[in-house]
């Protein structure tokens, strides 16, 4: 444990991870089945028992996508953590300007970041805003509320929210799985622990906070 502590720093608790992965599974299920309908699939993919199964999967995905954050909001102490996504400052602009260089070439021109960097905050913001629209419009379509014309508008909202989320989702997945410098951050959400060196470089402000707390704890113990 002590060795682990030396190279790793705790970033997520178990409830955080369960919430994240439930939403992820729900979103991917709904995404795959949703685009089958949106792009009109092949008839073979949509009809008969397979089609019924796809419809069911889409709804299961939607329910997971909604239930996980709701339970998290009710039970987790970090329920208002999502508000971070709405806090923006000047350094975010600096991050955006420096981002292309960082992600393509590398180098340390990025302003020091908090627990979530500007890009992560943007994705979080998208997930909260468009995820909310996606879920609301989805349930309206599912249960056939309101008039036919209103339904068509909600279908439009459902489509556009889904597309915007999907695009950002691609970027998110790419960065944590494929990007040569940032793919190691995948471990944080998979295990709850982040590489100390990576945390220092990528989330300096947050890392300093965590370190200060660690020092405090150690002093207390000693």
């Amino acid at each position: 444990m002590s060795k682990r502590k030396k190279t790793l720093v705790k970033r997520y608790d178990l409830p955080d991870m369960i919430m994240h992965w439930t939403v992820a599974v729900g979103f991917v299920l709904a995404l795959l089945t949703g685009y089958a309908v949106f792009f009109e699939g092949t008839s073979a993919l949509l009809v008969n028992e397979i089609g019924v199964f796809i419809r069911l999967l889409h709804r299961i995905g939607g329910v997971l996508f909604v239930v996980a954050p709701v339970l998290y909001f009710i039970f987790s102490k970090k329920r208002f953590g999502f508000l971070r996504a709405f806090k923006w400052s000047k350094s975010d602009l600096g991050w955006l300007l420096a981002a292309p260089k960082h992600y393509f070439v590398g180098g340390d021109s990025m302003p020091p970041q908090e627990k979530y960097n500007t890009g992560q905050k943007m994705f979080y913001l998208f997930a909260v805003v468009f995820g909310f629209l996606l879920a609301i419009s989805g349930f309206i379509l599912w249960f056939n509320w309101f008039s036919a014309t209103a339904q068509l508008i909600f279908l439009f909202i459902h489509d556009v929210s889904a597309v915007l989320l999907t695009l950002f989702f691609f970027v998110h997945v790419y960065l944590v799985i494929f990007h040569p410098a940032d793919r190691m951050s995948f471990n944080a959400m998979a295990t709850g622990y982040m590489d100390r060196e990576y945390a220092k470089n990528s989330h300096e402000l947050w890392y300093n906070e965590v370190k200060a707390q660690e020092v405090k704890k150690m002093e207390k113990n000693a």
């Binding site: 309908v37 008839s43 068509l152 695009l167 990007h179 040569p180 410098a181």
Partner: protein, 281 residues
Amino acid sequence: MAKKRDKVILVDTTLCTGCKACQIACKEWHNLPATEFEHVPGTYQNPADRNANTLMLMKFIEQYDKSTDTMDWIFWKDQCMHCTDAPCVEVCPSEALFTHEDGFVGFNQESCIGCTYCSKVCPFDIPRFETDTLTGSKYMNKCDFCQDRVTNGEVPACVRTCPTNCLEFDTWQNAVDKAYKRVEEIKDQYPNANVYGDTEMGGLHYIYVLTDKPETYGLPVEPKTDDLVSFRRDVVKPATKLLMGATAAGLLTNFIVASANYGKEEQETNDDTANGDDKNE
């Protein structure tokens, strides 16, 4: 526009006696179960509305005119109008709805996935659904113009059974001509008489001789396709493909460029041996 040779059903409402034989024939031919009797006060209409098992419904409207102290009793046959420019065909993702070569809107229920898009765009509020507890709408059902009969040279079941020749099966142009001629004949008795279906939605494949204005029947005066249908087809879908392609291309470029650059950096500074496996990608 509808083609002149398209097949069409001409409904001359002045000849209708409200016998409902067409409603029964429709059920019989499509092998659909009876629906629970629904008492609709003050009318012979039953059930109150069409449903997944009642594809067509005789509608009864009583109109009392105080000034002349007369009663007008209107009957009309309500079912899919079979538009030429059918928005339901446009939005159907599984090709369950299609424009038949004879012009009407055919329906293949085995292909229906119950997405309900058709019911959101239909200007006549036609689609009705068999529901399912888990997924809401299981499948849609609507008048299919007796496509199995028509493609085999038979007339639709409702036309076959009509005892008063109120329903006639004809080609599109013939039916429209007949309808206008009929309207001229009945103008004295019904000053508001008009033809419905020749211009609506690019030409319907049901042509009506109505004795009163369409509004009286609850029919839309100017039915049209919602603009969101074409917007979804022409903007949202192509834009989605474009943006997805652009994102994929951007990420792939990033992967190639970043892999090369980060590899170089690592070789130069040699600071992180943990990631050494990825250097030569």
